[in-house]
């Protein structure tokens, strides 16, 4: 056991989100330039084709979807003024907002919605493709109404209308062309508050205010610079020397967070990730001996000191995971079987188990220093209870390759839950989704027909209370089986100058565009 460490009493606690969320105080001023860091540089800004983090962040300003979601994931109107769902949960009718135009001036109509959902996204957005299988038909009686008819009730359907999942694509530009190689991809056109201006590869992306944006007086600021700075230390320097105002989650090493947080005119929030609910865990490859033995898996579960990791590596941000669900995801339930840090119990379990000295290979996540340190910490935790472990080196491509080929014993990862268990959690534990080849499948090849049945039923239940009970049962079953070693619900802090008003006010944080942001500087 680690020597009695007075970790908890350290300065970390002082950080615990003392600063108030910048409420909608004061009257918004227009004008000014917002400098944001983006890391890594997005491969492309065409949100329909590429959906990784950075693309979603910049794309969120250019494209919009029908709805927006507040921090409790309750939908609000965006391109759709109003919407209603039929009693049986089958038909969804959306009333579109009047007089909305694309950045090139062509009006936005229901035809664009149909083209986006039915043609463009179904073809090039793999997540949307699975959701669209629930859709029977899409009708556009007039320019401002769109009616979706589902094959059977699908609760989470209302939760997919955010720019990252369902961006509205201009039909007049893409119809009949090969989406992937359409030159317009380099100059994306959407309906959002900002228009694409210039992209200097390796340096910055510049967006300018959409003058005739359909919401009066918005956006407040004139333009946004997304700065590409590859080195974490340089990003911190950029903020410190005033060149950059907003550091989105994950762009600065966690060790720097307390120091930056203590700087004057600096506010911090870990809001804005509720929709994604990033949960980190270690895939366990139960095909390899001795990991097929549940005792070995739970011994590992109890051996890993996640509180230390939270404080030492993530500066006290985030929460210790209780199971496969993030606490911000709907139908999360706290009291699951005990998986707390207990090295003595771990040693006992290990003694009873079939483990006899095999070397456990840990595959770290190749996304920066924090993950590398975490792999080293886990290796040390395992050696404390007598398990011999070794870190397998890998870079981005090597990690993908090893995950697809199931060439690992334990493998770090973190995935989004998209607010609803049916959207983000079931894909990790459904037996049917265990085909090798993709990091988003059931990589640990967890086969449990009982939980599969529960997941299928819960997805199609119309009444939320029934879904809650079903998912409670699923959580208890999975946690008992310990198919994966759940680590932390990640807290990605967004650091920003206090005089930048409400950069984060929805469940998507900075990915939701800077429509309501204003700069309180004279």
């Amino acid at each position: 056991m680690l020597k009695p460490i007075n970790l908890i009493a350290s300065a970390m606690l002082a950080l615990a989100l003392a600063s108030p969320l910048a409420a909608q105080d004061g009257t918004p001023k227009s004008g000014g330039t917002l400098n944001v860091v983006i890391q890594p540089e997005p491969p492309s800004l065409m949100l329909g084709l590429v959906q990784n983090g950075p693309t979603q962040m910049v794309g969120g300003d250019i494209y919009e979807s029908l709805l927006r979601y507040d921090s409790e994931l309750q939908p609000e109107g965006q391109l759709a003024e109003s919407w209603e769902i039929s009693e049986d949960g089958i038909t969804y009718t959306f009333k579109l907002r009047e007089g909305v135009k694309f950045h090139d001036g062509t009006p936005f109509t229901s035809a664009d919605v149909e083209f986006s959902m039915d043609k463009f996204l179904r073809e090039s957005h793999s997540r949307m493709r699975t959701y669209m299988e629930h859709v029977e038909s899409i009708e556009t009686p007039d320019d401002l109404t769109v009616i979706f008819k589902l094959k059977q009730p699908f609760g989470p359907f209302i939760g997919i209308f955010e720019p990252g999942t369902a961006p509205m694509i201009p039909k007049h530009i893409y119809e009949g062309t090969d989406f992937a190689s359409n030159p317009a991809n380099n100059t994306p056109i959407g309906t959002g508050p900002f228009k694409f201006d210039k992209w200097e590869k390796g340096s910055f992306i510049h967006l300018v205010k959409n003058e005739d944006y359909y919401m009066e007086g918005k956006p407040y600021i004139d333009d946004v610079y997304y700065h590409v700075i590859p080195d974490a230390a340089s990003r911190a320097v950029a903020y410190e020397t005033g060149k950059v105002d907003v550091l989105p989650g994950g762009s600065v090493e966690n060790f720097d967070v307390p120091r930056m947080q203590a700087m004057e005119n600096t506010c911090i929030t870990d809001k804005g990730w509720e929709y994604f609910g990033p949960l980190s865990w270690m895939w366990v490859n139960s095909d390899n001996k001795p990991l097929d033995d549940v005792k070995v898996r739970s011994a590992i579960m109890h051996a890993v000191d996640r509180e230390f990791a939270k404080n030492a590596l993530w500066n006290g941000l985030g929460k210790v995971a209780t199971g496969p669900f993030s606490s911000s995801t709907r139908f999360w339930d706290g009291d699951t079987p005990d998986i707390t840090f207990d090295p003595e119990k771990a040693k006992a379990l290990l003694a009873e188990s079939s483990y006899n000295g095999e070397k456990i290979r840990i595959l770290g996540l190749p996304y920066g220093e924090t993950w590398q340190r975490w792999a080293e910490a886990v290796k040390q935790n395992l050696s404390e209870i007598g398990m011999d472990a070794e870190i397998v080196p890998s870079d981005v491509a090597g990690w993908n390759q090893k995950i697809s080929d199931r060439d690992f014993d334990l493998a770090f990862t973190y995935l989004y839950q998209y607010g609803d268990p049916a959207l983000g959690v079931s894909r990790t534990y459904m037996g049917s989704n265990a085909a090798p080849g993709s990091p988003w499948n059931n990589v640990s090849n967890y086969q449990n027909p009982e939980t599969d049945k529960l997941f299928d039923e819960a997805a199609l239940m119309a009444n939320p209370e029934d879904r809650k009970a079903a998912y409670k049962a699923v959580q208890d079953l999975i946690v008992a089986d310990v198919p994966n070693i759940w680590m932390l619900e990640l807290g990605f802090p967004t650091i920003y100058r206090c005089d930048i008003k409400n950069p984060v006010n929805t469940a998507f944080g900075v990915n939701d565009g800077f429509r309501d942001v204003w700069i309180d500087r004279d």
Binding site: L7, D256, E376, P393
Partner: protein, 279 residues
Amino acid sequence: MKNFWRRFSYNRGAVIGLFILTLVILTAILAPFVFPQSPWKMVQRPFLPPFTDNALLLGTDALGRNVISGLAHGAYVSLLVGLVSTIVALAIGVPIGALAGYFAGRTDDALMRFTEFFQTIPSFALAIVLLAIFQPSLMFVIIAISIVSWPPVARLVRGEVLSLRTREFVEAATLSGLGNTQIIMRHILPNALPPIIVLASLMVAQAILLESSLSFLGLGDPNIMSWGYMIGAARTVIRTAWWLSFLPGMAILLTVLSLNLIGEGLNDALNPRLTRKTQ
């Protein structure tokens, strides 16, 4: 041998270099005894500044690991990598150079084109690619370093052999019936030794620098605590704890500097024509 030391010690820098190097070697040898625990063990809270806790003289790193234990174990790794990769590079470079120099004509051309081919590619980029291909482990780091550092050896040895080949005592050896291999091994290479020794000492220094650069970029062996790794790991927290980068950097600086100084001392000692020739 006596005046070898006299000429070597004449170069003050070389003596200082030798002193520092012996210190580093001692650290590397004594490390497992003075710091028996693995340097990866998390012993205290992170970012403990140096000289605040007498048990942990130089404080702890980002994960609360003992910095001074890391430095000591790191010494062993750096010297090991430096030495072994130089030996491997010599094992590749010396034969190629000797053959090219001794058997002039087509073999010389072919071998030299091959050497030049290697020297054209930026060696650091090649090392990165080699490690990306073979997944970084200590052995592959050594192989990558030696693959990029043998060409200068080949060029030097070729030059030496070319000039020695026409010397009269080599012609005499040919006349007294010695075979080519005997002539190369017993007449030519022993006389080509001094410049090779000098270059070898500089190569060890370069190998240590290269290893630390590779570990800094995250391409080192993740299970090995090396100085390069320590700087790389501390790079992101440079403002909160700048000493975590500074100390291993100084360790590399001193070791590499001492090797370079010794190289110069050897150079003065081994080829006397550089020192004053008395009438």
